[in-house]
Subunit: 345 residues, 2 copies
DNA sequence: TGAAAATATGTAAGCGCTTACATTTCTCTC
DNA sequence: GAGAGAAATGTAAGCGCTTACATATTTTCA
């Protein structure tokens, strides 16, 4: 049988062609490409000119098959249309590039089913390791990855109770810190707009953080007016409208992220409410939007880039049987800007 | 030699294991997975249960090597931290997913060198086809891709003068349309903030569009106060400050994209200038930011999602020797919002 | 009813590379 | 200058899959 005559595929030079042209064995050519130090300079030069002359470049499938690695690292994020993930992922990929790895990103649209599907796809596409967001997912998925020998790093979350490798920040403590400040200012009637907590440990931890702070101040955590809604400016606005329509509307609305907060801010303006004099609003993430709006958003800064960069380093170390690193916890920082003030008395 | 005993890699089941378990040949198993219609239902069921029982999933490298395709489509965008690319790429990937293809994205940080490097990387990673932004690049790159038999689709630009497959919109005509409106309102003293035009045909075309409109109105195109600056809100603001410091500052600032326009808007506010009464500002792209700022940005809407979706369909058709489709031109739309008005008289 | 046509399955030859091991060729050291 | 050790290169066995072609089985219809 002869597939070389397929009319569409060009006949590319192979390792053997290069070896022939350079008068060496295929092993030597392979070594020139993968561990040049093992080859004498003169030979190497001869081989490399042959490579250049023929316009050779290695066949990916063959290399992956023989080496049992692809050099591809997978990452699954909820959506690319979100600055926080985009930013972290950008840093992640820049760092991977330095170690010669390539990033393969997929997005789950915040759906556990799609995420599971994407995980399988990435593994089927040969990902050597995976970066995931948050711990929360079907244990079967972790078992599957374990069985396939694909190392996993969980990001965006720090939870010492989880044994697996992870890098992130303490969502709960960070949000509790912000809520403390809110309470200190005298707010007692508190609203919260959050992403859906089911299957989203970041959202859940942030809500828990607010409740922690309430408890610390002797406020009943159950009294928190909480609305869960999908991630978007419009949804943030809509939730804000509902909170403000309450019999006793909150004097402050703590949002689970900046996007929801910007929506809330827009709605406040639309309702003719003065922020922060009539109602305070806070965000979480510190994305670019936070400083574009007026007044600028009081929020929690998360070191996304740093997280992306560090994640890449950890993951590269885990490929090829490196021991799982200890969980890493990064620091967040409160950013006081224009949308938070004491309640009107 | 026996590599199976490597202590890190797990011993995964192979096609042959499945074949043995199901009592069929490896060919039949392969067919079950790739063209189920060719296999009798009873046999197929037997094979699929064996697959499930063993937890089998195909080895990527081996499949790619034998089939001479990876199912990976590459895309290179300037940056992931830009909503317009993120949005288009998201739609692109959703559509690819429907045809069982996987997207591999890389970013060039607007650098031709990095882009060339990334193109080589993606091809080396087995990309079956490539999506690129804009036509502008070293002809050697196109030659390389041609030689490797990797189909390319250029997006974001429509230029009938370019023979290659492309999908985009007419940046020049779209921007000319906006500039016409600006001139119609009576503006004659016009400033422009653009991304760097070198190596960026989109930016160049948009500038050309403004000059076209000027010429149509009998204004000397050379009189355009043009500042080129990298893509960011801060740079837009800085450029705005420079324009406003001119002896006769422009009455309108046309920006090459929304991000620069938002920067300009911020600076106008900071300078105490009333937009649009004292100075008008326009953008291009219609990203979410455009409606978040106050006043909302007058801009040009680009059908990013539609472009991404259509690009995926075209590219899938081109893999495996499909004929190159004719260039596609999508329509843009002017969005009149709050930042454009007649000049103060 | 039997031969041709259609359908289902098996056989086995690669796909192009990496790498364990074997072999050859240098470099020392005494 | 001989022997030991190090360095450079070659040999060839897979890696796990797809698919052309061969073979076996069933269907169709004159």
């Amino acid at each position: 049988m002869n597939r070389r005559l397929s009319d569409t595929a060009p006949n590319l030079p192979t390792l053997a062609d290069v070896a022939r042209a350079a008068g060496v064995s295929t092993a030597t050519v392979s070594r020139c490409l993968n561990s040049p130090a093992l080859v004498q300079t003169a030979t190497r030069d001869r081989v490399l000119s042959a490579v250049a002359a023929l316009g050779y470049s290695p066949n990916f499938g063959a290399r992956a098959l023989a080496a049992r690695r692809t050099g591809i690292i997978g990452a699954i994020i909820p959506t690319m249309e979100n600055a926080i993930f985009a930013r972290a992922i950008q840093a992640f990929q820049e760092e991977l590039h330095l170690s010669g790895q390539t990033l393969l990103v997929a997005s789950s649209s915040y759906s556990p089913e799609i995420e599971a599907d994407q995980i399988r796809t990435l593994v089927a596409r040969g990902a050597d390791a995976l970066l995931l967001i948050g711990h929360d997912r079907d244990p079967g998925i972790y078992a599957f990855l374990e069985q396939r020998g694909v190392p996993v790093l969980v990001s965006w979350a720090f939870d010492p109770a989880q044994a697996r490798a992870s890098i992130g920040f303490d969502n709960r403590r960070a949000m509790a810190g912000l809520a403390q400040e809110v309470l200190q200012l005298g707010h007692r009637n508190i609203g919260m707009i959050s992403a859906h907590a089911a299957g989203n440990d970041r959202a859940r931890d942030r809500i828990a953080g607010v409740r922690d702070a309430l408890r610390d101040h002797g406020v009943d955590p159950a009294a928190l007016d909480l609305i869960e809604t999908p991630y978007s400016i419009a949804n943030g606005a809509e939730a804000m409208a509902r909170l403000m329509a309450l019999p006793t509307p909150p004097t402050v609305v703590i949002c689970g992220n900046d996007v929801l907060a910007v929506g809330a801010l827009q709605m406040a303006r639309q309702l003719g409410l003065d922020v922060p004099r009539q109602v305070s609003i806070t965000g979480f993430d510190d994305i670019e939007l936070a400083t574009v709006v007026d007044p600028a958003l009081t929020t929690v800064h998360v070191p996304h880039r740093e997280m992306g960069r560090a994640a890449a380093q950890l993951l590269v170390g885990m490929v090829g049987g490196g021991a799982a690193p200890a969980p890493v916890c990064l620091e967040t920082k409160l950013c006081f800007r224009g949308t938070l003030a004491a309640p009107r008395t």
